[in-house]
């Protein structure tokens, strides 16, 4: 087994909003090994991005606050580091790419300048040397005529090219961990595949671990080794990707998988949806957060919060009936 790079334990990040805080992330636990990819999936507002921003410690405070938990990265608890020490990690050991490459790059500086800036900052190079590395990075992510392109501004790049430039920037210090927050959501489908392939290729070359935040299960199937499914600020299921797709053990994951369009079915079917809406994060229910929408909910689901626990080898779920689902699946197969 490879070495563990990141372990997030019982992370809670709340946002002040009126008398009760909004519990955007409420007890998330997962881990990630070196060189592996973890997918975090869930619908909008499930806490995926807040989890990522918490790892970077970039939650705007106020109103946000990491109230408790541990984020152990390379043996250090990030939540106990000073701001200066954290700055040395950001962009250097952990870097991030964002959903919308149109707005994530500064419009007033050239692409080359923006990439060189992070290299100059963390690698202690002169601006000239950093500029050269920036051009190399642009070549590495497949931008043609990199020398010329480095002198251009973001508005002179197309969406796909900008995301490549973002990846070049994020990988320029060879980080141990890359957090990709919906990196392909804003891109054309053809460009999406290019970007995902590029990330996989670079991951192999640099042995970088990736946290892939997405709501697209197709992206997860294609890129991730492990998956954490989030719902209303909690991790409801965690396992390796194959197990999750073959043998999901949480009703919410079933819903997610069922809501994918299926081209193989003979008749035209309406897309399946999960009925109802996610709960109000300021006023979470007493029991399971998903109980209101769960077709299998029983009395206990409304009264007792299910804990994330290991059901089979490295397969964790937070459902009172996981074991029953497991045994019934066993009978079927």
């Amino acid at each position: 087994m490879s070495n563990e790079l990141l372990r997030v334990t019982d992370l809670r990040t709340y946002f002040a909003a009126g008398p009760d805080p909004a519990k955007a992330v409420d007890g998330v636990t997962f881990s990630l090994n070196e060189g592996e990819t973890l997918g975090i999936v869930g619908e909008s507002g499930s806490g995926k991005s807040v989890t990522a921003m918490s790892i970077m410690r970039l939650i705007p405070n106020p109103p946000g606050k990491i109230v408790s938990g541990e984020i152990i990265f390379s043996g250090k608890n990030l939540l106990q580091l000073s701001e200066a020490a954290m700055r040395r990690i950001r962009g250097n050991e952990i870097s991030m790419i964002f959903q919308d490459p149109m707005t994530a790059l500064n419009p007033s500086f050239t692409i080359g300048n923006q990439i060189a800036e992070v290299i100059e900052l963390h690698q202690k190079m002169t601006s000239k040397e950093a500029g050269k590395v920036a051009v190399e990075m642009l070549k590495m992510v497949g931008i043609p005529e990199a020398e010329e392109r480095a002198k251009q501004y973001p508005h002179q790049f197309s969406g796909g090219m900008r995301q490549r430039a973002m990846i070049a920037m994020a990988l320029s210090c060879k980080p141990k961990l890359l957090i990709a927050d919906e990196p392909t959501t804003a891109l054309d489908v053809t460009v999406q595949a290019q970007i995902l392939n590029l990330m996989k290729k670079l991951q192999k070359e640099l042995n970088t671990s990736i946290i892939m935040i997405t709501h697209d299960l197709g992206v997860v199937a294609e890129t991730c080794d492990y998956v954490a499914v989030m719902y209303a600020g909690r991790c409801v299921e965690y396992s390796d990707t194959v197990t999750l797709f073959d043998n999901p053990l949480h009703p919410y994951t079933w819903g997610l998988l069922a809501s994918q369009p299926n081209l193989d079915s003979k008749e035209k079917q309406k897309l399946k949806t999960i009925k109802g809406n996610p709960p109000d994060l300021r006023n979470l229910p007493l029991g399971c957060n998903f109980a209101e929408r769960c077709p299998h909910a029983q009395h206990i689901c409304f009264e007792k919060e299910p804990q994330l626990s290991e059901i089979e080898n490295n397969h964790l779920t937070a459902c009172h009936f996981s074991k029953e689902w497991l045994s019934s699946r066993g009978e079927v197969s």
Partner: protein, 323 residues
């Protein structure tokens, strides 16, 4: 870029033409007879009439305007009736003083307002933010003549620290001019300062919420660098617009400040000319100021390009290239 500048300069011609019409009409319709004012109450009707004919006031208005326009095209602003000197010479004597006053006011306003605006935005809703924006509101609403008089009362009369009128002389050393410059500069700087601080704050507040600021933080940059490098440059465009307007106004509208502090600048020259019904002087100096106004605006438009690379005046067509 050069093509754009030339195009803009050509575009100035109709603007200045319109200004010339307005200035001409206004100087002709304001009450008071220049000839009568110049000759005084004791003058005979015949003498006044003779002067009117000499000044060309008896010609049809179109003829007078044609004469004015032809002079303008030759770069001749006419000869002042009151001073009996070419208007342009009088302007060139006093305009540098106005530029000096405007420049020092602009410097004070910018140096004080920029940090206040930035800090207010960074520490939004803090006590500093509330206090500085309250002061800015007071500053914007402050009547210059009142503030000028209060400054004179305090610093010149009570504390006897600074001179209250005139601009001193270089022969007494640079310090003499500087000491004369302080009070009028502060008076003239107050409103622009308040304006700049408010614009900087609101513009910065908008920029610091942008995604690229989050990217800058995710790179591990210090907060200082995030604010100064990544935010300020993007926040500069609205500030530049307001600055351009304020500079134009300072150059053309420092009348009150120059009057209170007896600063020998253009504002006072114009007020003087109006009082003496020296319509040639008035129309000449207003034309000059209109020219300065449009020129400063042109400079600001050109500066936009330096601050914001997305603004381009070359018609190159499509925005993004490549896939």
């Amino acid at each position: 870029m050069l093509k754009y500048i030339i195009k803009r300069i050509i575009g100035l011609i109709p603007v200045l033409f319109c200004v010339s019409v307005v200035v001409f009409v206004i100087t002709r319709v304001i009450p008071g007879d220049p000839a009568a004012v110049m000759l005084g109450p004791q003058a005979t009707n015949e003498a006044v009439e003779a002067l009117r004919i000499k000044l060309g006031l008896r010609d049809p208005l179109l003829v007078q305007y044609g004469r004015f326009l032809m002079q303008l095209l030759r770069g001749d602003l006419g000869t002042s009736i009151a001073y009996n000197q070419p208007v342009l010479d009088l302007i060139l004597d006093t305009f540098p003083n106005t530029v000096l006053l405007a420049a020092s006011s602009l410097l004070i306003a910018t140096i004080v307002a920029l940090p206040i605006g930035i800090l207010s935005a960074v520490k939004q809703y803090s006590i500093f933010d509330y206090l500085s924006m309250t002061f800015a509101l007071v500053g914007v609403s402050m009547p210059v003549y009142w503030l000028g008089l209060m400054l004179v009362l305090l610093f010149s009369i009570k504390l006897q620290l600074l001179p209250s009128i005139g601009m001193g002389s270089l022969s007494n050393g640079l310090g003499d001019i500087l000491s004369h410059l302080i009070l009028p500069s502060i008076a003239l700087a107050t409103i622009p300062m308040a304006n700049f601080a408010r614009i900087t704050r609101s513009s910065m507040l908008e920029v610091v919420r942008q995604d690229y600021i989050r990217t800058a933080r995710a790179k591990g940059l210090s907060e200082w660098k995030v604010i100064i490098k990544h935010s300020l440059k993007n926040a500069m465009v609205p500030l530049l617009t307001v600055m351009g307007m304020q500079i134009s106004m300072m150059l053309s509208g420092a009348v009150l400040t120059e009057t209170i502090f007896a600063w020998p600048g253009m504002g006072r020259l114009v007020v003087d000319a109006i009082e003496k019904r020296d319509f040639i002087m008035v129309q000449g100096s207003v034309m000059f100021l209109a020219f300065i106004f449009v020129f400063v605006n042109l400079c600001v438009d050109v500066l936009y390009v330096l601050v914001n690379p997305r603004i381009s005046y070359d018609n190159k067509g499509g925005d993004s290239s490549g896939a």
